[in-house]
Symmetry: C2
Subunit: 269 residues, 2 copies
DNA sequence: CCTGCCTGTTGCGTCTTCCACAACCGATAG
DNA sequence: CTATCGGTTGTGGAAGACGCAACAGGCAGG
Protein backbone atom coordinates (compact mmCIF):
# COMPACT_ATOMS: atom_id res chain seq x y z
CA UNK A 1 0.00 0.00 0.00
CA UNK A 2 0.92 3.63 -0.01
CA UNK A 3 0.55 4.40 -3.67
CA UNK A 4 1.10 8.12 -3.25
CA UNK A 5 4.64 8.56 -1.98
CA UNK A 6 4.91 12.13 -0.73
CA UNK A 7 1.25 12.81 -0.11
CA UNK A 8 0.52 14.31 3.28
CA UNK A 9 -2.96 13.75 4.54
CA UNK A 10 -3.50 17.44 5.10
CA UNK A 11 -1.94 20.81 4.71
CA UNK A 12 1.20 20.30 6.76
CA UNK A 13 4.43 22.08 5.95
CA UNK A 14 6.92 19.78 4.31
CA UNK A 15 8.79 18.18 7.13
CA UNK A 16 10.05 14.83 8.18
CA UNK A 17 7.63 12.10 7.07
CA UNK A 18 5.65 11.62 10.27
CA UNK A 19 7.51 9.97 13.12
CA UNK A 20 4.52 8.21 14.57
CA UNK A 21 1.87 7.43 12.03
CA UNK A 22 -1.12 6.96 14.27
CA UNK A 23 -0.39 10.10 16.25
CA UNK A 24 -0.10 12.12 13.10
CA UNK A 25 -3.38 10.75 11.87
CA UNK A 26 -5.06 11.57 15.15
CA UNK A 27 -3.83 15.13 14.91
CA UNK A 28 -5.09 15.29 11.35
CA UNK A 29 -8.48 14.33 12.75
CA UNK A 30 -8.31 17.28 15.13
CA UNK A 31 -7.45 19.62 12.29
CA UNK A 32 -10.33 18.33 10.22
CA UNK A 33 -12.74 18.76 13.08
CA UNK A 34 -11.46 22.27 13.64
CA UNK A 35 -12.11 23.11 10.01
CA UNK A 36 -15.46 21.51 9.50
CA UNK A 37 -17.11 21.45 12.88
CA UNK A 38 -18.87 18.11 13.00
CA UNK A 39 -17.57 15.17 11.03
CA UNK A 40 -18.55 11.52 10.97
CA UNK A 41 -16.27 8.52 11.16
CA UNK A 42 -16.84 7.56 7.55
CA UNK A 43 -15.96 11.00 6.25
CA UNK A 44 -12.87 11.16 8.44
CA UNK A 45 -11.75 7.79 7.15
CA UNK A 46 -12.18 8.91 3.57
CA UNK A 47 -10.30 12.12 4.24
CA UNK A 48 -7.39 10.37 5.91
CA UNK A 49 -7.33 7.57 3.43
CA UNK A 50 -7.74 4.88 6.08
CA UNK A 51 -10.36 2.32 6.92
CA UNK A 52 -13.47 3.27 8.85
CA UNK A 53 -12.44 1.16 11.81
CA UNK A 54 -9.11 2.91 12.02
CA UNK A 55 -10.72 6.33 12.02
CA UNK A 56 -13.12 5.13 14.66
CA UNK A 57 -10.35 3.97 16.96
CA UNK A 58 -8.54 7.24 16.52
CA UNK A 59 -11.53 9.34 17.52
CA UNK A 60 -12.15 7.01 20.44
CA UNK A 61 -8.61 7.58 21.63
CA UNK A 62 -9.15 11.33 21.34
CA UNK A 63 -12.49 11.08 23.06
CA UNK A 64 -10.89 9.37 26.04
CA UNK A 65 -8.91 12.51 26.73
CA UNK A 66 -11.87 14.70 25.90
CA UNK A 67 -10.26 16.40 22.98
CA UNK A 68 -13.18 15.13 20.95
CA UNK A 69 -16.80 14.49 21.86
CA UNK A 70 -19.62 12.72 20.16
CA UNK A 71 -22.71 14.68 19.32
CA UNK A 72 -25.55 12.21 19.68
CA UNK A 73 -25.34 8.73 21.03
CA UNK A 74 -24.31 7.36 17.69
CA UNK A 75 -23.58 10.56 15.93
CA UNK A 76 -20.81 12.60 14.46
CA UNK A 77 -17.82 13.92 16.33
CA UNK A 78 -16.60 17.40 17.11
CA UNK A 79 -13.85 19.03 19.15
CA UNK A 80 -14.28 18.64 22.88
CA UNK A 81 -13.76 20.78 25.92
CA UNK A 82 -10.42 19.24 26.79
CA UNK A 83 -8.96 21.47 24.11
CA UNK A 84 -9.78 24.45 26.29
CA UNK A 85 -7.63 23.20 29.11
CA UNK A 86 -4.69 22.95 26.77
CA UNK A 87 -5.44 26.34 25.25
CA UNK A 88 -5.60 28.02 28.64
CA UNK A 89 -2.14 26.72 29.39
CA UNK A 90 -0.91 28.04 26.05
CA UNK A 91 -2.35 31.52 26.29
CA UNK A 92 -1.22 31.74 29.88
CA UNK A 93 2.25 31.97 28.43
CA UNK A 94 1.23 34.79 26.12
CA UNK A 95 0.69 37.94 28.10
CA UNK A 96 -0.56 39.72 25.01
CA UNK A 97 -3.67 37.59 24.72
CA UNK A 98 -4.70 38.37 28.26
CA UNK A 99 -3.99 42.05 28.18
CA UNK A 100 -5.10 42.69 24.64
CA UNK A 101 -8.53 41.16 24.85
CA UNK A 102 -10.50 44.10 26.14
CA UNK A 103 -8.91 46.60 23.80
CA UNK A 104 -9.45 44.37 20.78
CA UNK A 105 -13.05 43.89 21.70
CA UNK A 106 -13.54 47.62 21.93
CA UNK A 107 -11.74 48.27 18.65
CA UNK A 108 -13.79 45.60 16.92
CA UNK A 109 -16.98 47.16 18.20
CA UNK A 110 -15.99 50.73 17.34
CA UNK A 111 -14.64 49.97 13.89
CA UNK A 112 -17.14 47.25 13.10
CA UNK A 113 -14.42 45.10 11.57
CA UNK A 114 -12.44 42.08 12.64
CA UNK A 115 -9.46 42.76 14.90
CA UNK A 116 -6.52 40.39 15.31
CA UNK A 117 -3.35 40.25 17.33
CA UNK A 118 -0.41 38.41 15.81
CA UNK A 119 3.02 37.50 17.08
CA UNK A 120 6.21 36.52 15.34
CA UNK A 121 7.00 32.84 15.40
CA UNK A 122 9.74 31.21 13.42
CA UNK A 123 9.62 33.43 10.42
CA UNK A 124 5.88 33.83 10.12
CA UNK A 125 3.07 35.78 11.72
CA UNK A 126 0.66 33.82 13.87
CA UNK A 127 -2.67 35.24 15.02
CA UNK A 128 -3.22 34.57 18.68
CA UNK A 129 -6.30 36.65 19.43
CA UNK A 130 -9.31 37.65 17.39
CA UNK A 131 -12.42 39.70 17.95
CA UNK A 132 -15.22 40.05 15.43
CA UNK A 133 -16.86 43.36 14.62
CA UNK A 134 -20.56 43.71 13.99
CA UNK A 135 -20.12 44.26 10.29
CA UNK A 136 -18.02 41.14 9.99
CA UNK A 137 -20.70 38.57 9.48
CA UNK A 138 -18.99 35.89 7.47
CA UNK A 139 -15.54 36.30 8.97
CA UNK A 140 -13.42 33.24 9.30
CA UNK A 141 -11.29 32.09 12.14
CA UNK A 142 -7.70 33.22 11.73
CA UNK A 143 -6.40 32.15 15.12
CA UNK A 144 -3.39 29.90 14.98
CA UNK A 145 -2.97 30.45 11.30
CA UNK A 146 0.54 31.16 10.07
CA UNK A 147 0.81 33.78 7.38
CA UNK A 148 3.70 35.07 5.36
CA UNK A 149 5.34 38.19 6.77
CA UNK A 150 5.34 40.05 3.45
CA UNK A 151 1.68 39.52 2.60
CA UNK A 152 -0.12 40.62 5.75
CA UNK A 153 -0.29 43.94 7.53
CA UNK A 154 0.65 42.39 10.88
CA UNK A 155 3.50 40.60 9.18
CA UNK A 156 4.84 43.79 7.71
CA UNK A 157 4.73 45.50 11.08
CA UNK A 158 6.41 42.61 12.85
CA UNK A 159 9.05 42.40 10.16
CA UNK A 160 9.60 46.14 10.09
CA UNK A 161 10.47 46.18 13.77
CA UNK A 162 12.28 42.85 13.86
CA UNK A 163 16.02 42.19 14.10
CA UNK A 164 17.92 43.18 11.03
CA UNK A 165 18.87 39.52 10.56
CA UNK A 166 15.25 38.50 10.02
CA UNK A 167 14.61 41.43 7.70
CA UNK A 168 17.61 40.47 5.62
CA UNK A 169 16.67 36.83 5.57
CA UNK A 170 13.14 37.53 4.37
CA UNK A 171 14.24 40.12 1.83
CA UNK A 172 16.88 37.82 0.42
CA UNK A 173 14.54 34.90 -0.20
CA UNK A 174 11.98 34.92 -3.00
CA UNK A 175 8.67 36.44 -1.87
CA UNK A 176 5.82 34.08 -2.57
CA UNK A 177 2.98 35.50 -4.61
CA UNK A 178 -0.53 35.01 -3.20
CA UNK A 179 -2.52 37.44 -5.32
CA UNK A 180 -1.77 39.71 -8.28
CA UNK A 181 -1.09 42.49 -5.79
CA UNK A 182 1.31 40.66 -3.50
CA UNK A 183 4.53 42.57 -3.06
CA UNK A 184 7.22 40.33 -4.52
CA UNK A 185 9.89 42.96 -5.18
CA UNK A 186 12.34 43.08 -2.23
CA UNK A 187 13.12 46.73 -2.87
CA UNK A 188 9.45 47.65 -2.74
CA UNK A 189 8.96 45.64 0.43
CA UNK A 190 11.95 47.31 2.06
CA UNK A 191 10.44 50.67 1.21
CA UNK A 192 7.13 49.66 2.79
CA UNK A 193 8.88 48.41 5.91
CA UNK A 194 10.74 51.68 6.25
CA UNK A 195 7.42 53.47 5.88
CA UNK A 196 5.93 51.27 8.56
CA UNK A 197 8.67 52.22 11.01
CA UNK A 198 8.29 55.89 10.17
CA UNK A 199 4.49 56.05 10.23
CA UNK A 200 3.84 53.52 12.97
CA UNK A 201 1.49 51.41 10.89
CA UNK A 202 1.41 49.23 7.77
CA UNK A 203 -1.28 48.00 5.42
CA UNK A 204 -1.99 45.30 2.90
CA UNK A 205 -4.38 45.84 0.06
CA UNK A 206 -5.54 42.58 -1.50
CA UNK A 207 -2.04 41.17 -1.16
CA UNK A 208 -2.96 37.98 0.68
CA UNK A 209 -6.48 37.47 -0.59
CA UNK A 210 -8.35 39.35 -3.26
CA UNK A 211 -10.88 41.70 -1.70
CA UNK A 212 -9.22 41.74 1.71
CA UNK A 213 -7.57 44.83 3.14
CA UNK A 214 -5.92 45.25 6.52
CA UNK A 215 -4.04 47.77 8.63
CA UNK A 216 -1.73 46.96 11.53
CA UNK A 217 0.17 48.72 14.29
CA UNK A 218 2.92 47.54 16.63
CA UNK A 219 2.52 46.47 20.25
CA UNK A 220 5.51 46.91 22.55
CA UNK A 221 6.42 45.31 25.84
CA UNK A 222 7.99 46.88 28.89
CA UNK A 223 11.41 47.03 27.27
CA UNK A 224 10.06 48.85 24.23
CA UNK A 225 10.58 45.89 21.95
CA UNK A 226 7.83 45.14 19.44
CA UNK A 227 6.34 41.82 20.53
CA UNK A 228 3.08 41.75 18.58
CA UNK A 229 0.93 43.57 16.08
CA UNK A 230 -2.74 44.43 16.18
CA UNK A 231 -4.61 44.57 12.90
CA UNK A 232 -8.00 45.52 11.53
CA UNK A 233 -9.12 43.67 8.47
CA UNK A 234 -12.18 43.86 6.29
CA UNK A 235 -13.40 43.94 2.72
CA UNK A 236 -11.52 46.35 0.47
CA UNK A 237 -14.65 48.29 -0.38
CA UNK A 238 -15.11 49.28 3.26
CA UNK A 239 -11.48 49.66 4.30
CA UNK A 240 -10.54 52.11 1.58
CA UNK A 241 -7.35 54.13 1.44
CA UNK A 242 -9.38 57.17 2.47
CA UNK A 243 -10.60 55.44 5.59
CA UNK A 244 -7.01 54.77 6.69
CA UNK A 245 -6.68 58.32 7.93
CA UNK A 246 -9.49 57.64 10.34
CA UNK A 247 -8.73 54.04 11.24
CA UNK A 248 -4.96 54.16 11.61
CA UNK A 249 -4.84 56.59 14.55
CA UNK A 250 -7.47 54.64 16.46
CA UNK A 251 -5.61 51.45 15.81
CA UNK A 252 -2.35 53.00 16.94
CA UNK A 253 -4.06 54.25 20.08
CA UNK A 254 -5.35 50.76 20.79
CA UNK A 255 -1.92 49.29 20.23
CA UNK A 256 -0.46 51.88 22.58
CA UNK A 257 -3.02 50.98 25.23
CA UNK A 258 -2.11 47.32 25.03
CA UNK A 259 1.56 48.28 25.15
CA UNK A 260 0.93 50.26 28.29
CA UNK A 261 -0.71 47.24 29.89
CA UNK A 262 2.41 45.28 29.04
CA UNK A 263 4.48 47.79 30.94
CA UNK A 264 5.51 50.02 28.09
CA UNK A 265 5.79 53.68 28.94
CA UNK A 266 4.41 55.45 25.92
CA UNK A 267 5.80 58.94 25.69
CA UNK A 268 3.08 60.36 23.50
CA UNK A 269 0.77 63.14 24.61
CA UNK B 1 6.21 -6.26 29.77
CA UNK B 2 3.21 -4.54 31.23
CA UNK B 3 3.70 -5.30 34.88
CA UNK B 4 0.99 -2.94 36.05
CA UNK B 5 -2.26 -4.15 34.55
CA UNK B 6 -4.80 -1.39 35.10
CA UNK B 7 -2.45 1.52 35.52
CA UNK B 8 -3.37 4.58 33.48
CA UNK B 9 -0.49 6.87 32.69
CA UNK B 10 -2.31 9.90 34.01
CA UNK B 11 -5.46 11.11 35.63
CA UNK B 12 -7.97 9.86 33.10
CA UNK B 13 -11.43 8.76 34.14
CA UNK B 14 -11.77 5.00 34.12
CA UNK B 15 -12.76 4.13 30.63
CA UNK B 16 -11.91 1.64 27.96
CA UNK B 17 -8.23 0.74 28.14
CA UNK B 18 -6.84 3.04 25.44
CA UNK B 19 -7.79 2.13 21.90
CA UNK B 20 -4.63 3.39 20.28
CA UNK B 21 -1.66 3.30 22.58
CA UNK B 22 0.59 5.79 20.83
CA UNK B 23 -2.19 8.35 20.43
CA UNK B 24 -3.09 8.10 24.08
CA UNK B 25 0.52 8.56 25.05
CA UNK B 26 0.80 11.58 22.82
CA UNK B 27 -2.25 13.11 24.45
CA UNK B 28 -0.78 12.36 27.84
CA UNK B 29 2.23 14.37 26.73
CA UNK B 30 -0.04 17.30 25.94
CA UNK B 31 -1.66 17.06 29.35
CA UNK B 32 1.71 16.99 31.06
CA UNK B 33 2.90 20.01 29.13
CA UNK B 34 -0.30 21.82 30.02
CA UNK B 35 0.29 21.11 33.70
CA UNK B 36 3.98 21.83 33.96
CA UNK B 37 4.74 24.30 31.22
CA UNK B 38 8.10 23.18 29.90
CA UNK B 39 9.14 19.57 30.08
CA UNK B 40 12.09 17.70 28.64
CA UNK B 41 12.06 14.44 26.76
CA UNK B 42 13.67 12.50 29.59
CA UNK B 43 11.13 13.68 32.14
CA UNK B 44 8.26 12.93 29.78
CA UNK B 45 9.60 9.44 29.21
CA UNK B 46 9.86 8.81 32.93
CA UNK B 47 6.35 10.12 33.48
CA UNK B 48 4.82 8.00 30.75
CA UNK B 49 6.86 4.97 31.66
CA UNK B 50 8.36 4.63 28.20
CA UNK B 51 11.80 4.88 26.71
CA UNK B 52 13.34 8.24 25.94
CA UNK B 53 13.32 7.54 22.24
CA UNK B 54 9.60 6.82 22.31
CA UNK B 55 8.85 10.04 24.11
CA UNK B 56 11.04 11.87 21.65
CA UNK B 57 9.17 10.50 18.66
CA UNK B 58 5.87 11.41 20.24
CA UNK B 59 6.84 15.04 20.77
CA UNK B 60 8.24 15.18 17.28
CA UNK B 61 4.92 13.99 15.90
CA UNK B 62 3.17 16.66 17.93
CA UNK B 63 5.67 19.27 16.86
CA UNK B 64 4.96 18.52 13.21
CA UNK B 65 1.43 19.75 13.70
CA UNK B 66 2.59 22.59 15.91
CA UNK B 67 0.79 21.42 18.98
CA UNK B 68 4.11 21.56 20.79
CA UNK B 69 7.24 23.57 20.17
CA UNK B 70 10.80 23.28 21.31
CA UNK B 71 12.19 26.02 23.44
CA UNK B 72 15.84 26.23 22.50
CA UNK B 73 17.55 24.40 19.71
CA UNK B 74 18.06 21.36 21.86
CA UNK B 75 15.85 22.30 24.70
CA UNK B 76 12.69 21.34 26.44
CA UNK B 77 9.25 21.27 24.90
CA UNK B 78 6.09 23.23 25.59
CA UNK B 79 2.64 23.60 24.10
CA UNK B 80 2.61 25.30 20.73
CA UNK B 81 0.43 27.77 18.97
CA UNK B 82 -1.42 25.17 16.95
CA UNK B 83 -3.46 24.56 20.06
CA UNK B 84 -4.97 27.99 19.66
CA UNK B 85 -6.38 27.17 16.26
CA UNK B 86 -8.16 24.19 17.72
CA UNK B 87 -9.34 26.19 20.71
CA UNK B 88 -10.77 28.93 18.54
CA UNK B 89 -12.83 26.34 16.72
CA UNK B 90 -14.04 24.98 20.05
CA UNK B 91 -15.01 28.24 21.68
CA UNK B 92 -16.66 29.37 18.47
CA UNK B 93 -19.28 26.78 19.29
CA UNK B 94 -19.79 28.17 22.77
CA UNK B 95 -21.61 31.45 22.63
CA UNK B 96 -21.15 31.92 26.35
CA UNK B 97 -17.40 32.27 26.12
CA UNK B 98 -17.67 35.04 23.57
CA UNK B 99 -20.43 36.99 25.26
CA UNK B 100 -19.33 36.41 28.81
CA UNK B 101 -15.78 37.57 28.50
CA UNK B 102 -16.20 41.27 29.06
CA UNK B 103 -18.56 40.85 32.00
CA UNK B 104 -16.26 38.34 33.68
CA UNK B 105 -13.33 40.59 33.26
CA UNK B 106 -15.21 43.44 34.89
CA UNK B 107 -16.45 41.25 37.73
CA UNK B 108 -12.96 39.94 38.33
CA UNK B 109 -11.62 43.47 38.47
CA UNK B 110 -14.38 44.80 40.72
CA UNK B 111 -14.40 41.90 43.13
CA UNK B 112 -10.69 41.26 42.98
CA UNK B 113 -11.27 37.51 42.85
CA UNK B 114 -11.18 34.84 40.18
CA UNK B 115 -14.30 34.56 38.05
CA UNK B 116 -15.24 31.45 36.09
CA UNK B 117 -18.00 30.39 33.73
CA UNK B 118 -18.94 26.73 33.72
CA UNK B 119 -21.29 24.67 31.61
CA UNK B 120 -22.90 21.31 32.15
CA UNK B 121 -21.31 18.46 30.25
CA UNK B 122 -22.15 14.83 30.76
CA UNK B 123 -22.89 14.99 34.41
CA UNK B 124 -20.14 17.34 35.48
CA UNK B 125 -19.39 21.03 35.47
CA UNK B 126 -16.69 22.20 33.09
CA UNK B 127 -15.13 25.64 33.31
CA UNK B 128 -14.93 27.24 29.90
CA UNK B 129 -13.88 30.78 30.73
CA UNK B 130 -11.78 32.29 33.48
CA UNK B 131 -10.67 35.76 34.46
CA UNK B 132 -8.26 36.49 37.27
CA UNK B 133 -8.82 39.25 39.78
CA UNK B 134 -6.03 41.41 41.11
CA UNK B 135 -6.06 39.77 44.50
CA UNK B 136 -5.80 36.35 42.98
CA UNK B 137 -2.08 36.01 42.68
CA UNK B 138 -1.52 32.32 42.94
CA UNK B 139 -4.68 31.22 41.24
CA UNK B 140 -4.57 28.13 39.15
CA UNK B 141 -6.01 27.42 35.80
CA UNK B 142 -9.42 25.81 36.07
CA UNK B 143 -10.37 25.91 32.42
CA UNK B 144 -11.36 22.58 30.97
CA UNK B 145 -11.40 20.97 34.37
CA UNK B 146 -14.37 18.76 35.16
CA UNK B 147 -15.68 19.06 38.67
CA UNK B 148 -18.37 17.23 40.56
CA UNK B 149 -21.76 18.93 40.52
CA UNK B 150 -22.30 18.60 44.26
CA UNK B 151 -18.98 20.06 45.35
CA UNK B 152 -18.77 23.31 43.43
CA UNK B 153 -20.93 26.41 43.46
CA UNK B 154 -21.32 26.39 39.69
CA UNK B 155 -22.16 22.72 39.83
CA UNK B 156 -24.89 23.32 42.37
CA UNK B 157 -26.39 26.08 40.26
CA UNK B 158 -26.28 23.99 37.10
CA UNK B 159 -27.76 21.04 38.91
CA UNK B 160 -30.42 23.10 40.60
CA UNK B 161 -31.77 24.31 37.29
CA UNK B 162 -31.18 21.10 35.35
CA UNK B 163 -33.76 18.54 34.22
CA UNK B 164 -35.32 16.61 37.02
CA UNK B 165 -33.78 13.45 35.57
CA UNK B 166 -30.26 14.70 36.17
CA UNK B 167 -31.12 15.93 39.65
CA UNK B 168 -32.53 12.55 40.52
CA UNK B 169 -29.61 10.70 39.03
CA UNK B 170 -27.07 12.72 40.99
CA UNK B 171 -29.04 12.56 44.21
CA UNK B 172 -29.48 8.82 43.93
CA UNK B 173 -25.80 8.03 43.49
CA UNK B 174 -23.31 8.29 46.35
CA UNK B 175 -21.85 11.79 46.64
CA UNK B 176 -18.09 11.64 46.63
CA UNK B 177 -16.34 13.32 49.51
CA UNK B 178 -13.55 15.75 48.68
CA UNK B 179 -13.08 17.55 51.98
CA UNK B 180 -14.54 17.20 55.48
CA UNK B 181 -17.17 19.75 54.50
CA UNK B 182 -18.33 18.19 51.25
CA UNK B 183 -22.08 17.70 51.22
CA UNK B 184 -22.60 13.97 51.00
CA UNK B 185 -26.12 13.77 52.34
CA UNK B 186 -28.64 13.74 49.46
CA UNK B 187 -31.33 15.38 51.57
CA UNK B 188 -29.02 18.24 52.50
CA UNK B 189 -27.96 18.67 48.89
CA UNK B 190 -31.57 18.74 47.74
CA UNK B 191 -32.27 21.44 50.30
CA UNK B 192 -29.36 23.49 49.02
CA UNK B 193 -30.50 23.07 45.44
CA UNK B 194 -33.98 24.25 46.34
CA UNK B 195 -32.39 27.24 48.05
CA UNK B 196 -30.37 27.94 44.95
CA UNK B 197 -33.48 28.05 42.80
CA UNK B 198 -35.23 30.29 45.30
CA UNK B 199 -32.36 32.69 45.96
CA UNK B 200 -30.81 32.71 42.51
CA UNK B 201 -27.38 31.78 43.73
CA UNK B 202 -25.46 28.96 45.44
CA UNK B 203 -22.22 28.68 47.35
CA UNK B 204 -19.62 26.18 48.40
CA UNK B 205 -17.59 26.63 51.52
CA UNK B 206 -14.47 24.47 51.54
CA UNK B 207 -16.41 21.62 50.02
CA UNK B 208 -14.10 20.94 47.10
CA UNK B 209 -10.80 22.13 48.53
CA UNK B 210 -10.02 23.25 52.03
CA UNK B 211 -9.72 27.01 52.20
CA UNK B 212 -11.64 27.62 48.98
CA UNK B 213 -15.02 29.32 48.90
CA UNK B 214 -17.13 30.17 45.89
CA UNK B 215 -20.48 31.66 44.91
CA UNK B 216 -22.28 31.09 41.64
CA UNK B 217 -25.29 32.39 39.73
CA UNK B 218 -27.14 31.05 36.68
CA UNK B 219 -26.80 32.28 33.11
CA UNK B 220 -29.80 31.84 30.81
CA UNK B 221 -30.13 31.79 27.05
CA UNK B 222 -32.83 33.28 24.88
CA UNK B 223 -35.30 30.58 25.79
CA UNK B 224 -34.82 31.17 29.49
CA UNK B 225 -33.06 27.86 30.02
CA UNK B 226 -30.02 27.87 32.31
CA UNK B 227 -27.06 27.10 30.08
CA UNK B 228 -24.13 28.09 32.28
CA UNK B 229 -23.12 29.42 35.66
CA UNK B 230 -20.78 32.21 36.57
CA UNK B 231 -18.84 31.91 39.81
CA UNK B 232 -16.52 33.92 42.00
CA UNK B 233 -14.01 31.98 43.99
CA UNK B 234 -11.37 32.91 46.48
CA UNK B 235 -9.84 32.04 49.83
CA UNK B 236 -12.37 31.45 52.58
CA UNK B 237 -10.94 34.20 54.76
CA UNK B 238 -11.78 36.80 52.12
CA UNK B 239 -15.04 35.36 50.81
CA UNK B 240 -16.78 35.13 54.15
CA UNK B 241 -20.45 34.47 54.68
CA UNK B 242 -20.87 38.15 55.55
CA UNK B 243 -19.42 39.19 52.22
CA UNK B 244 -21.98 37.12 50.36
CA UNK B 245 -24.59 39.80 50.88
CA UNK B 246 -22.40 42.17 48.94
CA UNK B 247 -20.98 39.77 46.36
CA UNK B 248 -24.08 37.76 45.45
CA UNK B 249 -26.12 40.65 44.02
CA UNK B 250 -23.23 41.83 41.89
CA UNK B 251 -22.65 38.32 40.66
CA UNK B 252 -26.33 37.92 39.86
CA UNK B 253 -26.28 41.22 37.99
CA UNK B 254 -23.30 40.04 35.96
CA UNK B 255 -25.01 36.77 35.20
CA UNK B 256 -28.11 38.66 34.11
CA UNK B 257 -26.02 40.84 31.82
CA UNK B 258 -24.50 37.82 30.13
CA UNK B 259 -27.96 36.31 29.87
CA UNK B 260 -29.19 39.43 28.15
CA UNK B 261 -26.39 39.19 25.63
CA UNK B 262 -27.50 35.65 24.96
CA UNK B 263 -30.95 36.93 24.10
CA UNK B 264 -32.61 36.45 27.47
CA UNK B 265 -35.15 39.05 28.39
CA UNK B 266 -34.62 39.60 32.08
CA UNK B 267 -37.77 40.92 33.68
CA UNK B 268 -36.11 42.43 36.72
CA UNK B 269 -36.29 46.12 37.35
C1' DC C 1 41.64 21.16 29.65
C1' DC C 2 39.14 17.10 29.61
C1' DT C 3 36.27 14.24 32.30
C1' DG C 4 31.88 12.94 33.75
C1' DC C 5 27.25 13.52 33.48
C1' DC C 6 23.44 15.65 31.87
C1' DT C 7 20.52 16.64 28.11
C1' DG C 8 18.22 15.58 23.25
C1' DT C 9 18.85 12.65 18.97
C1' DT C 10 19.28 8.58 15.69
C1' DG C 11 19.90 3.52 13.44
C1' DC C 12 18.41 -0.88 14.05
C1' DG C 13 16.05 -5.33 14.88
C1' DT C 14 12.33 -7.35 17.11
C1' DC C 15 7.93 -7.99 18.73
C1' DT C 16 3.98 -5.21 19.83
C1' DT C 17 0.20 -2.99 18.25
C1' DC C 18 -2.25 -1.18 15.01
C1' DC C 19 -4.68 -1.69 10.84
C1' DA C 20 -7.71 -3.57 6.97
C1' DC C 21 -11.18 -6.65 6.34
C1' DA C 22 -15.65 -8.08 7.10
C1' DA C 23 -19.47 -8.85 9.77
C1' DC C 24 -22.68 -6.52 12.92
C1' DC C 25 -26.13 -3.24 14.70
C1' DG C 26 -29.61 0.70 14.81
C1' DA C 27 -31.77 4.18 12.37
C1' DT C 28 -33.97 6.15 8.51
C1' DA C 29 -36.47 5.95 4.35
C1' DG C 30 -38.80 4.20 0.56
C1' DC D 1 -40.30 -5.00 5.35
C1' DT D 2 -36.08 -4.40 2.82
C1' DA D 3 -32.26 -1.35 1.38
C1' DT D 4 -28.91 1.64 2.63
C1' DC D 5 -26.81 4.61 5.40
C1' DG D 6 -24.46 5.68 9.55
C1' DG D 7 -21.27 4.00 13.68
C1' DT D 8 -19.30 -0.21 16.23
C1' DT D 9 -16.69 -4.60 17.12
C1' DG D 10 -13.77 -9.30 16.59
C1' DT D 11 -9.82 -11.16 14.39
C1' DG D 12 -5.37 -12.46 11.86
C1' DG D 13 -1.48 -10.71 9.58
C1' DA D 14 2.13 -7.48 9.12
C1' DA D 15 3.27 -2.67 9.22
C1' DG D 16 5.19 0.10 12.30
C1' DA D 17 6.19 1.61 16.90
C1' DC D 18 9.06 0.39 20.62
C1' DG D 19 13.23 -0.43 23.49
C1' DC D 20 18.02 -0.82 23.15
C1' DA D 21 22.32 1.17 22.71
C1' DA D 22 25.32 4.31 20.79
C1' DC D 23 25.89 9.30 19.37
C1' DA D 24 26.07 14.38 19.90
C1' DG D 25 26.37 18.62 22.30
C1' DG D 26 26.43 21.57 26.78
C1' DC D 27 27.61 22.39 31.28
C1' DA D 28 29.94 21.90 35.92
C1' DG D 29 33.57 20.69 38.50
C1' DG D 30 37.63 18.54 39.21
Amino acid sequence: MGDEPTDEGDAVPNQAPAQVQSVDRALAVLDLLAQRGEVGVTELAAELGVHKSTAFRLVTALERRQLVEQVGDRGKYRLGLGILRLAAATTGRLEVTREGQAVCERLARELGETVNVAILDEGSAVNVLQEFGNAAVGSRNWIGRRTALHATSSGKVLLAFADETLRKSVLSEPLERHTPRTVTDPAELRRQLDDAVRLGWAATNEELEVGLTAIAAPIRDGSGKVVAAVSVSGPSYRLTAESFIDVAPRLIAGAAEISTRLGHYSANG
